[in-house]
Each structure stands twice: as structure tokens, then as C-alpha cells.
Symmetry: C2
Subunit: 300 residues, 2 copies
């Protein structure tokens, strides 16, 4: 029997999405899911590849979720191009594209929301109040609509990944969460839909986040274990570039995302900076033990 | 072919519960679920009957959930008798009894919790801070473990029922919520595991909650539409009984649980009172329109 390659199905309603996934499940298929806000780049598409490796049926959502944007953030101007996304996903072998309207996802203001202890106290959490609760709201809705067996999240959004993993563990979601490594441009810049906001000159300067992380890695590999010393070096790299405004550099323990003084065990070095109109983030996860330093591109 | 009556299966772990339900689903069965805190009475068992009418496979949980009890409440002394519960459920045709330990349900303190807007601002909400978020936490966990198609909740716990219905709507849980009417003793007292706490004398006095609600109903049927007048009459009935301490009487709109001044549309009259060592609650849902007053024993 020849496996026939099915075309991608695009659905706009919850009922259609549910029906499509349930059909796949009745056929005994393992369902994988990649949530996105669209305007896809190679970073997203590698998550799709991971999803297809781990599931028989691959669903992707494209939804710019208003509840995870704060006032004054870039919800309105966030780039959108569904037809381009559809083509890219079809070429990558995706089975289902779920692209609901805001009205379909939020027909009324939700009265039930999430509250996050500890995990949102540092990094982007305090700078974007309401962001992670909004992410958990939409992720939960999407999980309940698409009922995936496995879902793939990019490690570029490390705090989101750690919080979603904890959501799944605390609330017993029947979903396996898989991390996808950050995909970078040849010069090291982490791929992001928000890179779109950058002028050619800003695009050049934006590599400073990666360079700061590489400087940090070299220091730790050289034996430095003081978080303060490594963060100071990162800050120094970033502050030398005119037109780049540092938002934060932090070193945190991976499980709880609490700041550490010593770089030992599984730690993340994370950076956020404004480059022109774009707020960019990047990070590096290190496993430091017995004098060995290992980069962890995808946490388990 | 003769349908063989299967015996009840008692499981204590999440993995066993999941496996049992998934087996039933693979056989094409529709799964129903009744969450309880055990020490079952006829009220619970009628919920089981409703569940069996609407599903092919009926799962019941017995779990006294610590996260929904506040400091100084009756978590420790809440009555427990799993062997008796097991026998009652088996006789009623239940397929699966899930009775996990606290360690199984909460191996570590959860960092992800629920926050409820509006719906917990009145009635039991302000008197039991943390109660309804704790209910949503355990209900969500149980829904994710047992993956029911339909779940049955008693209308005696009206605020819980309304909040759970909203949880399901806001978060797109693939579960249908069915309300079960309050079951009463011959003298009107709503069945509750907490009636166990009452001495014979207190048991007698406890009927005052029902009598207050009946007085309210008679007034509304007689044409009274002022919430203040009806609540005053209820208060009067309750305050006449020595040893009964009123916690609240309130009249609220059913959808949002906000107080109303006029008894029109779908409204709930709700009462809570301390009778000896027990805090008891009861309520009455009325649909008042076009001069007609209809009691709604099970909301949709």
C-alpha cells in the first residue's frame, strides 16, 4: 500500500479543528501540535519537523493571541501573512492548520485565568505582566481543542517553555512537551518574527545578544562560576553597541527560574534588549557539573 | 450477546486511572465522570445514576482535596470511609473508582493556579478564600486524568457548578457538564456529607435552611420581586432558631453570580449557616418571567 501524502487542511473554527483531530485519532494516529503566532520562519519549521518525527498527524495553529500582549506592546503591528504560512506549512508536510479569529477564541472575556507562582518573577515576567498568564490561557485552550499527544515549543522562548512544562505537570495534561533548539541566522541572531521590525543597520546590531551569550559561555568554559562576573561581562558587550538598550541579563536555575549566584547545575543565561523598535530575547542553557560545561540546546 | 456486568475497578494511581479510561475509550465507550470527596450519600448516588444514563462507562473519584480547604476548615475531620463508598458505587453500577492519595495528586506544591473573576466575589467565595481556585485546580487535574466526555456536578454546590461550567467554557474543555438536582431528606434538609457532624438536636435545627428557602419561594410565587424583602424574610426564619448562626443569604443572577435587586430572570437564592460544628449551604434556582415562577432543579 502506498501512503498517500494528504494536502494540508486549513480550518478557522474550533468545531472543525476538533473534528479533524478526532478523525485522525480514530484512525489510531498520534497527534502532534506546534502552536505559533504565524509569520513563520525556519525556527518554527524546525519545530514542525520535530513534531512530524514524533507524531503521525501534525497540527499547527497560527493565532496572534491578544491576551498575552500588554498595553503598548506590539499586538497590532505583529506581522501576519496567513497565505505565506499556509504554503510553508504545506511544503513541510503539516496536516492541519488551525487559524481561528479572535472572536472564535474569545467570544466573551474569560473569567477564569491563570496565576503563576515563582516562575514569572524574573526574566520577562515582571517586564511583561500578564504575558505568561495569557500564554497559559491560550495554550490550555489550544490543548483542549486539538488534544495533542505531543506538543513542541521553541527553546528561544525559554521562560514560556519552562512555564508550559510546569503547567502540564501541575495540571496533569495528557501531553508530552518537547523542546526545539533555537535556530539562528548565520551570524548568530536567533530567528524571530520580530526580526522583521529591524532596519538593515539594526539587524546588524541585533547580533549583540548572541555575542553576549557567547562571551558568557567562553567565560564559564574558562572556569568562571560567579553569575555576577559573567552577567557584568554580558552587560559590557551589550552596552558598547549604540542604539541597543538592555532590558535585562539574568542567570537563573532552570527548574524554578530563580536567580543564582553560582553557575552550577542546570542554569540559563538570558538576555532581553530593545534594538530599534524590536524587543529581542535570547538565552543559553548550560549544564555545569564536575568542572564540565555542556550546552543544552533542548531541555527535557 | 449478553452484556456482562463488569465489577467495579478501584485504582489508586493516575497511571492506572488513565489506562482504564483509555481502554474504555478504545472500545468506543462514552466516558462519564462524577468527582466526589467520598462519604457518599444518596445525593452523590443520584449523580452516578445521571452519569450512567449519559455515558457507557462511569468513573467516580473519591478524593478529599486539600487545596480547596482553608486554614481552620474541616479538612482533617472531613468524614472518610472508602470501603463503604466502594460498596455503594459497585452496587450502583460504577465502572471505575479513582481514589488517589494526596501525594499522588500533589507530589509537589503546584506553581500554576487559577484566578477567578467576578464569579467568586459573592456567596461562599469571600468567606472561603482559595476554595474555588482549589476546586478548579483539582477538577482540571481530574478532567485531564480521566478525560471524560461528560461530568456530573450537584446543584447543591451551586457556585461550584456555575464556576466549573465557566471553566469549561472559557478554557474549551472537551467535556459536557451536567447538573444533578439537590437530593433532600424527607424533612427537606439537603443531603451533605457534613450532616454527619450534627447531633440529633442540631440535625433537627438544620432544616431551617430549607424552610427559609421555601418561605422565599412562597413570597416570590405570591408576587414579591424585591430581593431585599425576600432576603429579610429568609433571615428572619433563620435567626429565630437558637444555635444556628447565619453566614449569608444572597440573591444573585445565575450566570455571573452578581447580586440582584429585583428577582427577575434566572436567579438563585442561596444560604449558608453554621449549625453546631457544621457549615451548611443550600440554594434554590428560580426562573421568573412573565409573572410565572418556575423552580429550576438542574440548570443547563
Amino acid at each position: 500500500m502506498i501512503a498517500r501524502r494528504m494536502a494540508l487542511v486549513l480550518v478557522r473554527t474550533i468545531a472543525e479543528a476538533r473534528a479533524a483531530v478526532r478523525r485522525a485519532k480514530r484512525e489510531g494516529k498520534r497527534v502532534g501540535f506546534v502552536p505559533t503566532m504565524g509569520y513563520l520562519h525556519e525556527g518554527h519549521l524546525r519545530l514542525v519537523d520535530l513534531c512530524r518525527e514524533r507524531a503521525d498527524y501534525c497540527a499547527v495553529s497560527v493565532f496572534v493571541n491578544p491576551t498575552q500582549f500588554g498595553p503598548g506592546e506590539d499586538y497590532e503591528r505583529y506581522p501576519r501573512d496567513l497565505e505565506r504560512d499556509r504554503r510553508l506549512l504545506e511544503a513541510r508536510g503539516v496536516d492541519l492548520l488551525f487559524a481561528p479569529s479572535v472572536e472564535e477564541m474569545y467570544p466573551e472575556p474569560p473569567l477564569i485565568r491563570f496565576q503563576i507562582e515563582k516562575l514569572a518573577d524574573h526574566l520577562c515576567g515582571p517586564r511583561r505582566p500578564g504575558h505568561f498568564p495569557g500564554v497559559l490561557l491560550v495554550v490550555t485552550k489550544l490543548f483542549h481543542i486539538l488534544e495533542p499527544d505531543v506538543a513542541v515549543f521553541g527553546q528561544k522562548d525559554l521562560q514560556q517553555l519552562v512555564i508550559v512544562k510546569r503547567l502540564v505537570r501541575d495540571l496533569n495534561f495528557p501531553v508530552e512537551i518537547v523542546a526545539g533548539p533555537t535556530v539562528r541566522e548565520p551570524d548568530g541572531l536567533a530567528m524571530s518574527s520580530r526580526n522583521e521590525y529591524l532596519s538593515p543597520e539594526e539587524r546588524e546590531k541585533a547580533t549583540v545578544l548572541y555575542r553576549a551569550l557567547q562571551r558568557a559561555k567562553a567565560l564559564v568554559e574558562g572556569g568562571e562560576r560567579s553569575a555576577a562576573a559573567v552577567l557584568a561581562a554580558m552587560r559590557d558587550v551589550i552596552e558598547r553597541v549604540e542604539g541597543v538598550r538592555l532590558d535585562y541579563v539574568e542567570a537563573v536555575e532552570l527548574e524554578t527560574l530563580q536567580p543564582v549566584e553560582r553557575l552550577e547545575g542546570r542554569v540559563a543565561l538570558a538576555v532581553a534588549a530593545f534594538v530599534g523598535p524590536a524587543r529581542l530575547i535570547d538565552n543559553l542553557v548550560l549544564d555545569v557539573r564536575d568542572g564540565q560545561v555542556r550546552e543544552v540546546p533542548a531541555i527535557d
